[in-house]
């Protein structure tokens, strides 16, 4: 027999002004199952809560209704109070007679009548409540970091330094990411490799970090706290355990003409190679599309040179399964493909700039390699076509960014800063050269950022022209850049030796299939979606999966690092518990009735429903059924609406409860 207690709050004058709380109490006291109904000035106050607790004990209440403010305000408060008195917290319901009643209805009689009805609905609901226990999910305290750029490195080191095991997966032969290829960084002009490589070494040597380079995530199973990740390790043809990284092999390799991806095709590499000298691990891989052994069936120079016997032409891709409790995605970015078709949608952007056609039109990452001391020119700025030092360089910003017509709608955020940096680096190396910049406007928000841009203009003499470039042509070995200076209001043509395009930032290739494996959302540009743009910026809607760095949106190094540390922090919060408690107000399948049409499986936004089989003791199939994974279900109830036989229901919002509420209406 239900014994419901109803506690009506005055909320000072907030409720009592428009709702006759005493009359409401008198009325609802008559409802079937209501053992007591009383009003009090502030139910959420200590004395208010004590009153509830006293009544739970003295009246032997089996459920309570608090008629006060929004459940978003105080449901947790009253659940706690009930739990403290030994009443299951899920036997507490609220009637929102403040936000939904006294504050919006000023006719006292009407408001009181509605308040009574709202309480009646809550009483009807609480009578169908049943006690629920929080769901405990065990946690594997081991993390996976996908992507070994600066964000992934930071996240991995933070988690590892806190004492937990970390697995890092990087698809290139070395970690380091885009930052390893940069020259110097804004706004301090410190050398990128000098600050990054020590951290790469830390990752390589950390006792808590397992590094899988030249590897990709193949599949992800499981859920929050209990992921099973299959990682495909691509064949390196070099036994990493035997190899000492001495370099005999790549120095001797006769195939030397492959464009170096690390140099963005500005230089070449051998068939057996490490992408750059400071690579971690400092172990080569063989590119079988360039290796004479694989192409022609002869050569074998590297195998002969290798004293450690580490070359293995028979090497195969292998898979490893890593069990982890949390995943940090840090897959970074790539540049917008200028003048080429964008993935799928067939848009061709900026063919008029001649990128890919004129060798001296390059993108900003290529320019980074030209300026870098470790780059193909040893840090001397020489243009690709003839190796001459360019005396006039034009930098064009917003190529692909902020352009709804041909490019991407968003601002890539970092281009204004690195373009200013590029003009400075150029000027520092070519003292008699001139740098021109065509820009839309300069976005230099950040500590010491605007000062930095001012320095480029005022001290290093960069010529900034506000306006866009319409066309670039090549005449007599020079590039004719036709644009406009909108501040002067005149067309402007610059004859340049080199043009650098600040191409837009896009998420790295392959992030969408990865996101699908992880069940993480992404936007129309492919950037991964955070759970909440303000309050949950590194969480995703896939519980236990976090994001950081440029895979989530354009950002610079300090922001990527900060976000990586934030993601690591969230992982550590998770790892602070042996078991995670999850809300029990989630879906539950009546497996006997389930007809196994699996519409719910297709629809579930969290892939929280799986196809399961019920077998008898002998192992014979009795029936198939949908089954809810309690670690994944978030309790949206999409499955309930779709299930024709209502063999699935949501605890706390059951079909029966909704019906009871409807029935209670007069």
């Amino acid at each position: 027999m239900a014994r419901i207690g109803v506690f009506i709050c005055w909320c000072g004058e907030n409720i009592a002004r428009n709702v006759d709380v005493e009359q409401a109490a008198t009325q609802v006291a008559e409802l079937p199952g209501v053992a007591c109904a009383l009003a009090y000035k502030y139910m959420c106050s200590d004395p208010g809560q004590s009153l509830i607790r006293q009544k739970i004990a003295s009246e032997h209440l089996t459920g309570i209704v608090v008629a006060s403010c929004s459940p978003h305000m105080h449901l947790r408060t009253f659940r706690k109070a009930a739990a403290a008195e030994g009443l299951n917290p899920y036997l507490v319901e609220m009637a929102n007679i403040r936000e939904h009643c006294s504050w919006v209805h000023h006719d006292r009689a009407e408001a009181t009548a509605k308040a009574v009805e709202l309480i009646r609905m809550a009483v009807a609901k609480v009578r169908c409540d049943h006690a629920l226990q929080p769901i405990a999910i065990p946690v594997t305290r081991r993390a996976l970091v996908i992507g070994g750029g600066v964000a992934g490195i930071q996240a991995a080191l933070d988690i590892a330094d806190a004492g937990y095991q970390v697995v890092v997966v990087e698809r290139e032969p070395s970690i380091g990411g885009k930052m390893a290829g940069l020259s110097e960084t804004f706004p301090t002009l410190d050398c990128s490799q000098c600050i990054l490589t020590p951290r790469m070494v830390d990752v390589g040597q950390h006792p808590n970090i397992t590094l899988h380079t030249y590897s990709e995530v193949e599949s992800v199973e499981g859920y929050l706290g209990n992921f099973k990740v299959t990682i495909r390790k691509k064949a390196r043809y070099v036994d990493v355990a035997k190899c000492t990284g001495c370099g005999q092999c790549w120095n001797a390799c006769p195939s030397k003409k492959t464009p170096s991806a690390f140099d963005y095709n500005m230089g070449t590499r051998t068939a057996i190679y490490v992408p750059f000298p400071q690579a971690v691990p400092a172990r080569p891989v063989i590119d079988r599309n360039a290796c004479l052994h694989f192409l022609k069936g002869k050569c074998g120079v590297c195998a002969k040179k290798c004293q450690a016997g580490a070359i293995n032409y028979e090497d195969q891709d292998t898979s490893v399964v890593e069990e982890v409790g949390a995943v940090v995605v840090a897959t970074g970015f790539q540049l917008y493909q200028i003048g080429k078709e964008r993935n799928g949608d067939g848009t061709v952007g900026y063919g008029e700039y001649g990128y890919g056609e004129y060798p001296d039109v390059i993108d900003s990452l290529q320019f980074e390699r030209l300026v870098s001391a470790s780059g193909p020119t040893g840090g001397e700025i020489r243009r690709p076509s003839d190796g001459q030092v360019p005396k006039t360089v034009v930098f064009i910003s917003c190529v692909g960014s902020r352009d709804n017509a041909k490019g991407l709608s968003y601002c890539s955020k970092i281009c204004c800063m690195y373009t200013a940096k590029h003009t400075m680096l150029y000027k520092h190396k070519v003292h008699d050269g001139t740098a021109h910049v065509f820009y839309m406007d300069i976005r230099a928000g950040g500590k010491n950022y605007d000062e930095f841009v001012r320095r480029a203009i005022e001290q290093d003499g960069a010529q900034y022209h506000r306006g866009r470039v319409s066309k670039i042509t090549q005449e007599n070995g020079r590039l004719i850049v036709r644009g406009v200076d909108t501040l002067v209001g005149e067309p402007l043509t610059v004859e340049a030796d080199l043009v650098v395009l600040a191409s837009a930032m896009r998420p790295a290739d392959g992030v969408e299939p990865l996101a699908q494996k992880l069940n993480v959302g992404y936007d129309e540009n492919g950037f991964l979606s955070e759970s909440h743009p303000k309050l949950r910026p590194v969480e995703t809607n896939a519980a236990g999966v976090f994001v950081c760095g440029a895979c989530q949106g354009p950002k610079d190094i300090p922001e990527s690092v900060a976000q990586a540390t934030a993601a690591a922090g969230k992982v550590l919060v998770m790892f602070g518990h042996e078991k995670l408690a999850r809300e029990p107000e989630i879906a539950k399948v009546n497996e006997t009735n389930c007809a196994a049409c699996f519409t719910c499986v297709r629809a579930c936004p969290y892939t929280a429903i799986e196809k399961a089989e019920i077998r008898d003791r002998k192992g014979n199939l009795v029936k198939r059924t949908a089954r809810v994974n309690q670690g994944l279900c978030m309790g949206c109830g999409t499955c309930v609406a779709l299930c024709p036989s209502k063999s699935v229901d949501i605890e706390g919002f059951t079909e029966q409860q909704v019906y009871a509420m409807l029935e209670s209406l007069e």
Partner: protein, 145 residues
């Protein structure tokens, strides 16, 4: 008390917990007055709101039903509102075929920030339903037992 002869429609609103319910909360916080005819039933998500709840509301004497949730792209559960929208497209066709008055079934997206919109939607639905009068056609169906 209201005049006995003034028709006060019964309006049932099924709303999602994260957008429209909070939008209605905000209307309260901002003291935006609206008619007292609406009864809110809070559910986790519009994805949970099945057609049978609309039918049931009419059976229980509702003169109008509102179903409201997060705007597309804003669903707390990523996609529940998209699933709901697709079902409503189909369900509305069935209602049309049955001759159930489309003016009595309302759908809206009201975000947690749209307290004002909540006020407007409820006010308009109430006025409209008052003009339509009680849904006697459906009540007759339910009384013939």
């Amino acid at each position: 008390m209201n005049e006995a002869n003034v028709f006060q429609p019964k309006i049932i609103a099924y709303v999602c917990n994260w957008c429209t319910y909070l939008g209605a909360d905000l209307a309260g916080t901002n003291r935006l007055e609206y008619p007292a005819n609406v009864r809110i039933i809070r559910l986790p998500c519009t994805g949970r709101i099945d057609f049978n709840l609309i039918v049931k509301a009419f059976e229980r004497g509702a003169d109008a039903v509102l179903v409201s949730g997060c705007h597309p792209g804003d669903c707390h559960y990523t996609a529940g509102n998209y699933h709901a929208r697709r079902r409503w497209i189909l369900f509305r066709q069935l209602l049309e075929t049955l001759g159930i008055d489309a003016n009595r079934v309302h759908f809206s997206w009201i975000s947690a920030a749209e307290g004002k919109k909540w006020q407007q939607v409820i006010t308009e639905i109430t006025e409209k339903t008052k003009a339509l009068g009680p849904y006697t056609a459906y009540r007759e169906i339910c009384q013939e037992c």
